[in-house]
């Protein structure tokens, strides 16, 4: 993804939900997109699937998937060639992601039946195989969503996301509604799947600790922009952007005695974001230039980049 912007139209003016975002998901790797609520994480995933709502103000940029430019494709091409076949998605709120009146098995294999015209029995076989893989009993195939527990529903949705063997799976807060023990089960399942299927994953979460459980690379978002990207080791152990640093420091730890701190202030209104670096009103290291010019993407290490004037001085 390069330079992708997505603004929504509202009564008060356009909301800059996603603003000039660059993001790369290498094959077989999991990239975590981390940020607080309203920072544009989910909107970013919507751009890739092109599941845009009606109130779009601006949608620009380039999205390259496997060498193909998605922005140039028509809606029907996206639908028949990209969605689920190449990129599938596990949505936030597993509870509402399943059609309540269709048996879960049918929902899992539906893309096979509709897009690939696979025969019923074969689809069923493949569906049950995927369900086994995600830890679901075969009997669940004929059940309705309301007969399943939250964890099982989440597994159904993961099985559904894998049914077409896509290259990339977008996971949007896949465990946020689950209990911690079930959350850990699902994370283990995702780790297995990543290894077994050589899947690329885009893991979207507000929980940086949870993200570290799965992801090889991180992209930290703040107020519609990516502020830092890099390998997990780089971002978690040597954060280069003040926001990343503060975000990490705010996480209460279970296994160390670091006292968590908070970031003063509140995220900006995206209808009217602050000029320059959007983090500058909350940044402890703020400089003159921060409120005047938007920082570029400065490389700070091998594959690590930060949008911060602090790093611009050191490296550029």
């Amino acid at each position: 993804m390069s330079d992708v912007s997505l603004y929504y139209e509202t009564l008060r003016g356009p909301v800059q939900a996603v603003d000039s975002v660059n993001l790369e998901v290498p094959k077989g790797e999991a990239v975590g997109v981390v940020g607080e609520s309203g920072c544009g994480k989910t909107s970013t995933s919507i751009c890739i699937m092109r599941l845009l709502p009606d109130n779009i103000h601006t949608f620009t940029g380039r999205i390259l998937f496997d060498g193909r430019e998605l922005m140039d494709m028509t809606d029907s091409e996206i639908r028949s060639q990209i969605r689920w076949r190449e990129v599938s998605m596990v949505f936030q709120g597993a509870m509402n992601s399943l059609n309540p009146v269709i048996r879960v098995g049918e929902q899992i294999v539906e893309p096979l039946r509709v897009l690939d015209k696979v025969q019923k029995d074969e689809a069923r076989e493949r569906g049950v195989a995927r369900m086994r893989q995600t830890g679901l009993p075969a009997e669940a195939y004929r059940m309705y969503p309301h007969e399943l527990s939250g964890g099982m529903k989440q597994r159904v949705i993961i099985a559904m996301a894998l049914i077409m063997s896509p290259k990339l799976v977008i996971l949007d807060e896949p465990t946020s509604a689950l209990d911690v023990s079930v959350q850990a089960q699902i994370m283990n399942l995702l780790k297995d799947l990543k290894r077994e299927e050589d899947l690329s994953m885009l893991f979207i979460s507000h929980d940086i600790a949870l993200t570290s459980d799965l992801c090889d690379r991180f992209a930290v978002m703040y107020a519609g922009r990516v502020v830092e990207t890099g390998e997990a080791e780089q971002v978690l152990q040597d954060p280069q952007h003040p926001y990343t640093e503060k975000l990490l420091a705010s996480v209460p730890r279970l296994r160390s005695d670091v006292t968590p701190e908070f970031i003063p202030g509140a995220p900006p209104d995206l209808v009217n974001p602050p000029p320059g670096c959007r983090f500058h009103p909350r940044c402890p290291y703020v400089m003159d230039i921060c409120s005047k010019r938007e920082p570029e993407m400065f490389p700070t290490g091998d594959g690590q980049y930060a949008h911060c004037w602090l790093r611009g001085d050191e490296h550029g």
Partner: protein, 353 residues
């Protein structure tokens, strides 16, 4: 237990009747025999997953529900079955902070009206200055900027601080905080907890902190009690309980929680299978036995009592002593994703400016 405790809970039970047919009802034991004490100026963390009965227990202690059995003493006075009409003094002393700051404030009232309401209910004079002081105490400053706003104009963290101001304005001595930060963004979570800590010290408040998040519980609580299916399975000082759990469920709960660490992704978490069963039909014997990796025959037949395993450390497991080492690795050791080999707990990230 000692009568100086602000809140003393004795073998409290809360059973509901759940209708399963037209004529059939089944008892749901949301809280099934819990004994706890909350001393002044201390925080008791109540940790558990959904359906464990932690919220029910919290509300019972505030008499938002009437217990089925057991006794509640507040500052030595029994309040178990006192009718609502004679509880007004208690309502002044005991307060609750709710999970969802978007739901716990009346959307039709301004910040001013919300914070003022307790004063009106208890007919307390000098409302304006008290509201100002309360808002200042929760750092909603300048007060003038917030006082006339409606809840929907505030962020989650700000709303929760309004809710805290509302509970504190009566100078209570006991507060039940039910997941007060779980719906707030990570960056403001800590600020809300810090405000609570500061006020606790200032006013010598007794807290029950209800949460599913072991990490914030450890940070904010003096003692922790772990609940599973309506019962307390382990109770100890927060640090001890986290670092050396004595109950398999506690260990599993801790194991499930990651710290931000790049090595996490290379290993798999040791998780307990299954999901918390419904409290409608709890398993016989130890309620955790169907999911427990160490379950033996005795666990199916005999319910383990909550006993003092070590001084000041209580656990409800037949094998607490024997399992100590295993539980430590279960909770903090990682298993390599490919080999299943135990890895050492990391020492945490070291952020630097």
């Amino acid at each position: 237990m000692n009568m100086a405790d602000v809140m003393l809970i004795e073998d409290i039970r809360m059973h509901y009747q759940v209708r399963t047919g037209i004529f059939k009802t089944i008892p749901l034991r949301a809280v099934d025999g819990v004994t706890l004490a909350v001393p002044p100026g201390q925080t008791l963390g109540l940790v558990g997953e959904s359906g464990s009965g932690k919220t029910s227990l919290g509300k019972l202690t505030l008499r938002l529900m009437e217990p089925t059995a057991g006794h509640l003493y507040f500052k030595g006075k029994e309040i178990t079955h006192v009718p609502e009409g004679r509880l007004k003094w208690f309502r002044r002393e005991a307060q609750m902070i709710f999970q969802d700051p978007f739901a716990s404030l009346d959307p039709f009232m301004t910040v001013d009206q919300i914070v003022e309401e307790p004063l009106i209910i208890h007919r307390i004079q000098g409302r304006e200055s008290k509201v100002h002081r309360a808002l200042e105490a929760v750092r909603l400053t300048p007060v003038e900027e917030f006082i006339n706003k409606y809840p929907h104009m505030l962020s989650g963290g700000q709303r929760q601080r309004v809710a805290i101001a509302r509970t504190l304005i009566l100078n209570p001595s006991y507060i039940v905080a039910d997941e007060p930060v779980s719906m707030i963004d990570a960056s403001s979570r800590v600020s809300v907890l810090q405000i609570l800590s500061r006020l606790q010290k200032e006013y010598n408040l007794a807290f029950i902190y209800i949460t599913h998040d072991v990490a914030t519980a450890r940070y904010f609580s003096d003692r922790l009690a772990v609940m599973y299916l309506g019962k307390i399975v382990e109770m100890a000082a927060a640090d001890e309980l986290i670092s050396t759990p004595l109950h398999p469920y506690t260990a599993a709960l801790i194991a499930a929680v990651p710290d931000p660490d790049p090595t996490n992704r290379l290993t798999k978490r040791r998780v307990i299978p299954g999901e918390p069963p419904s409290p409608i039909n709890p398993p016989p014997g130890c309620r955790f036995h169907p999911r427990c990796p160490y379950a033996a025959k005795i666990c199916r037949d005999e319910e383990p009592p909550l006993r003092e395993v070590e001084p000041g450390r209580y656990a409800a497991c037949h094998f607490s002593e024997k399992l100590q080492d295993d539980l430590l690795t279960l909770a903090h050791g990682h298993v390599d994703a490919s080999s299943g080999r135990s890895a050492q707990p990391p020492t945490g990230a070291s952020p630097k400016p």
